[in-house]
Subunit: 442 residues, 2 copies
């Protein structure tokens, strides 16, 4: 990986902030344990002056002291180790040239399989994106092709954004699947699902942005589960075979935690005991009114009684480019007020390039190059510079389905924004200026 | 604090597990960053053999290596530091005698103010309970009494369980409050709310179990917020002045994060745009059907659109003993099947002692001491041994209100379990055996 934007080896990022927060953490941990500075110093075998020095930002972090604290106090060393802010100016930039120079080729099964390139990443986020090019070319969609080499899955969730003729293979419940992906197609996959990628031809570029992340399960939760061990970890996985089963197990977990008999919860909530038992047994779900009443009775928020609704099928959620939603932001017709960063006359908005590659040219091309709605004074914007060549690509997307999100399908609908190539050509939006330039768009 | 159950200083708890997990963490972190063992070793300036040695459980954790990794890779040292499992046998025990011997007296304002005693605690949980005795005696309820010395509040939430004539003072939005607490009364308070305790007389014991905890905001979240700084941290606190305001801000945050115009979300969900704008502006809340439709449109779980419903008033939630709910577990009439740990004939169940102290003696006293529903073979049960003398206490609880949980009050109702002293005396429950001995009760 490129070490651009990193200080020279030996000087970790944000060392001053790290030292300052390390002192504050020690002070805070001692306070949480009802230690005065004097008693904390005594516990740690330090003089008052030495202890005070450790709280000061000038003092370097001491692993020995953290280890001593983790011995005499009921805490862990990591509780005393701060994170490093490697993004003091609000952005981290990795230029396309740096990304290209970070390229590394890895082999699988004795053949060159992937080329990896670094992308921007930060110590403040558990996201681990990478640019990955498929070097193994196949001429079929057979998951057992000799040039298809699977991984064993990994701990992280993964979004994959495809460019070119990419085959995506994934295994779920022992069954192998293959998806023919094209530019703009994307997929989301669950942890520990084995998967792999190949290219369908050698002429076109075939690569992905693989955006892996840990979600709520990395960090503290993962450390705690690791210490508790796999058997205990299993117990935290409530049944989610169905919405009713998930809600039943959730309800049972609250009743058990409170040692509250179901009959008592029924009486407190006004829900008939037989009906509540049916919910707890996973036979049916609570109505909204019952959620409200039961949450009040158990002194929870209603959201606590609603399980997460998984929408993956066979461990994945697929969004083909050809049928994905599209929209404009801000919407056509938004007042063109301009903003301090970009005058109203300057911020033309054209259809997104990945849209225009799949449609006829817009009938009203901007008279100057379309620019992102961003401050002109900053030199950190990487919108174009950091985009790998060909992203978004020039390959027409194929596929006829909308996002494969069966749980959502009944209520999801086509956007009214121009979505077919013909519609894009026929109804060009009015180009408003970036009236919400400073908002979350972008 | 007592160091009972801790290994001698210098040998932190669970050192073998710590080393094993440290190696696994390094391996996992390298994999997340798409490093093979060889490329990881090269990044870290190690030979392949040295790198392999660091992955092995025999190798001690190396802070220097963690620091090197945090320099060349976009991660933090703490990401490589495991937690310690100080509870390998499932329980941590602190005997009453050990607790008493841990007593420390702290002064405030030049007078002895609190006596602290340790209670059981673990590195695996962010709970920080302490036994605290009030040494400052007051004869009024004046928060400005010269013997009342406030703290500045702290980062942790706090449950407080009272024994004896305890005055609880708390400050919220600049206003001082005093609560006259008695045995069995309990209170929950928000972080950073200044508070303090005194005793109302010197004759009776007056102490509390102060159970402080960090909730979801300690650990990773707190470290991340600390690195981002207070201004950014403020931005994460969505308006919760009302349920409608909280839901409106929550909805806006999803729309902003998706760069999805409200009009588009309205169309996708079938909710009229004017109506959805009213929700986003905090003027009204979504109906359950609208939550379902909007969650589908935004590809969220319905729970994601429901804010936490705070139920604290002036930063606290108070539960007077005299009006708190009571119930039996298992409920009277449960089949007396007994269990392997406790034969059906042995596990008599009498009304909880804190109930019987406030009522006439039960008409059917057990013929042998009532025992907790627990295995007889274990020596780790502390149900009676660890309970401080006088807990539950003998002081009659006063107060006439139910738990002060206004948000819940409209729907919360009295339990059908015997609740008044007379009722307890009149309707003793049938003593069933512990048919759910191994369940979550207790």
């Amino acid at each position: 990986m490129s070490t651009a934007n990193l200080p020279p080896a030996g000087t970790p990022a944000d060392d001053e902030g790290f030292r300052r927060r390390a002192g504050a953490l020690l002070h805070s941990a001692a306070g949480d344990l009802r230690r005065t500075s004097r008693s904390a110093a005594a516990d740690l075998g330090l003089t008052d002056a030495d202890y005070a020095a450790h709280l000061a930002p000038e003092q370097g972090f001491s692993w020995d002291l953290a280890q001593r604290a983790a011995t005499v106090w009921p805490l862990n060393e990591r509780d005393l180790v701060p994170v490093r802010n490697d993004c003091p100016r609000g952005v981290r930039v990795l230029r396309a040239t740096e990304s290209a120079s970070s390229a590394r080729v890895f082999q699988r099964g004795g053949i060159d399989y992937y080329e990896y390139r670094a992308t921007a990443m930060s110590r403040l986020a558990s996201f681990r994106p990478a640019w990955i090019r498929m070097l193994s070319v196949v001429t079929d969609d057979d998951p057992h092709n000799a040039d298809v080499h699977w991984n064993n899955g990994h701990m992280l969730y993964q979004f994959t954004y495809c460019v070119g003729p990419v085959n995506y293979y994934y295994r779920w419940n022992g069954r192998d699947h293959v998806l023919r992906m094209n530019t703009g197609d994307s997929i989301w996959g669950l942890p520990f699902s084995p998967h792999t990628f190949t290219a369908r031809n050698a002429e076109e570029p075939a690569y992905v942005l693989a955006l892996t992340y840990g979600g709520e399960l990395m960090g503290d939760a993962q450390h705690e589960l690791a210490a508790l061990g796999p058997d205990t970890a299993r117990g935290f996985a409530l049944d989610t075979d169905s919405a009713a089963a998930a809600q039943g197990r959730l309800l049972r977990s609250y009743l058990d935690a409170s040692a509250l008999p179901l009959e008592h919860a029924a009486e407190l909530s006004g829900i008939p005991a037989g009906r509540l038992a049916g919910v707890a047994d996973g036979g049916t779900t609570l109505t909204p009114d019952e959620v409200t009443a039961l949450a009040a009775a158990l002194r929870l928020s209603p959201r606590d009684l609603l399980p997460v609704v998984p929408d993956a099928v066979d461990g994945v959620s697929v969004c083909p480019a050809a049928t994905s939603r599209s929209w404009y932001h801000p919407p056509p017709g938004t007042a063109t007020t301009g903003c301090a960063n970009w005058p109203a006359t300057g911020c033309t908005r054209t259809p997104a390039p990945w849209r225009s590659t799949r449609s006829a040219p817009t009938p009203t091309p901007p008279t100057r190059p379309s620019r992102p709605c961003a401050p002109t004074s900053t030199s950190t914007s990487t919108t174009s510079a950091a985009a790998p060549s060909g992203w978004p690509g020039s390959t027409a997307a194929s596929g006829t389905k909308r996002c494969w999100n069966p749980a959502r399908r009944p209520t999801s609908r086509r956007s009214s924004a121009p979505s077919s190539p013909a519609a894009v050509a026929a109804t060009p939006p009015t180009p408003p200026a970036c009236s919400r330039c400073a908002s979350a768009a972008g």
